[in-house]
Symmetry: C2
Subunit: 221 residues, 2 copies
């Protein structure tokens, strides 16, 4: 069984992107063009580029084209970077134009949130929505929940992060401008105090092409 055409084509582009021949942000030829160059139908090209999409090597913009990911080698590091403000985290990753906006409200805790935070249902908690862009492109959005008397995360001694690929919630998808059905990288964070109580919860979504990999540094014993 030979290698399917779409795997071959995807592999060629992956090499050229990783090798720097195709620089970040560069527009790829259209489906039709790639198809013609490779002597296949455009369906095969779509499958090939889907593969690159799911690896975060390219990003597609509807009605404009497919572009090489802006940060093909960027890595998200935990826990160091995750203890800083979003501004500092992203500005340490980049010297570009980072914009962060926040929206804060007090809401009654749902049963899940109340249980997680050790409160009673309906008790008021703080909900912060944080949105970040880099050079105008959305790069993250998060929902953070904590008791109203918690001001920051400096009291935490443990961080637990759960990483998965998920269909983003509607508000997250809208902000990240993902196409319907496109998965996002999601990180569910729980900041724990020394007595193992959760003092802050945060659900963060990133576009697939934001990070090449996630790095976690853990002390043993």
């Amino acid at each position: 069984m030979p290698e399917p055409a779409y795997v071959r084509i995807a592999g060629e582009y992956a090499l050229r992107i990783r090798g720097g021949e195709l620089p970040p942000g560069m527009q790829l030829p259209s489906y039709a063009e790639i198809a013609q160059k490779n002597g296949v139908s455009d369906i095969v090209v779509r499958k090939a580029l889907e593969l690159l999409l799911s690896q975060g090597l390219v990003r597609s913009v509807r009605r404009r084209g497919i572009f090489v990911a802006d940060r093909p080698n960027l890595v998200r590091v935990s826990p160091e970077r995750q203890m800083e403000t979003a501004e500092r985290t992203f500005r340490n990753e980049s010297d570009r134009d980072i914009q962060v906006e926040r929206e804060t409200e007090q809401i009654p805790a749902t049963s899940e949130l109340a249980e997680a935070l050790g409160l009673s249902e309906g008790e008021l908690i703080t909900h912060v929505i944080t949105r970040a862009t880099e050079d105008g492109r959305p790069i993250s959005i998060s929902d953070t929940y904590h008791p109203v008397d918690v001001v920051d995360v400096s009291g935490a001694t443990f961080l637990e992060e759960t990483v998965s690929d998920q269909l983003p919630t509607a508000p997250h998808a809208e902000w990240l401008r993902t196409t319907p059905g496109e998965l996002a990288k999601t990180v569910h964070q729980q900041f724990l105090s020394a007595d193992d109580r959760i003092i802050m919860i945060s659900d963060v979504s990133y576009p697939r092409d934001r990070y090449d990999a996630f790095v976690f540094r853990m002390a043993l014993k």
Copy 2:
């Protein structure tokens, strides 16, 4: 712009799988059947199931069918579980038939490995290939490298794990029996001693449907 049909269909199956209505291991109807039930073409169904595949909720077996993932809620936990032997790790996750096989050889270090481990190129190092199955199905394969005088990982005080989605190497793809072009979850592990030297490196691949999420527990400060 309404929700595309394939997202709707994928969402319906995701709910039924997560909710337990479709139990692990159960075979899904064929593409043609699902297509007919939903009044769409089989192409749409393929896209829908691709979505579930990439989320690890189902697994496809060529010429047999699509099956609900065996472990739709299994989570990989670090670092606790990763300090144990592979046997213990997997047996703690499951009461099923776990088989682990190892292959050990001494090889001269490549330049990358030599640099990482603080040795000189060509110096002999130990290479261990570990393959694991659960009820006969492959669930992981890893390449581990360490200096010949390192016997285990008990001397490590730090663990750094890098998680990404990649096209597996040929031997890994063959063992996991992934279809061509299918991505695997890969974890690159580095075990560090107290003086920050790397005493062991391991590259592990998992099938996409093995874990629902990866959890990392980190001490702060």
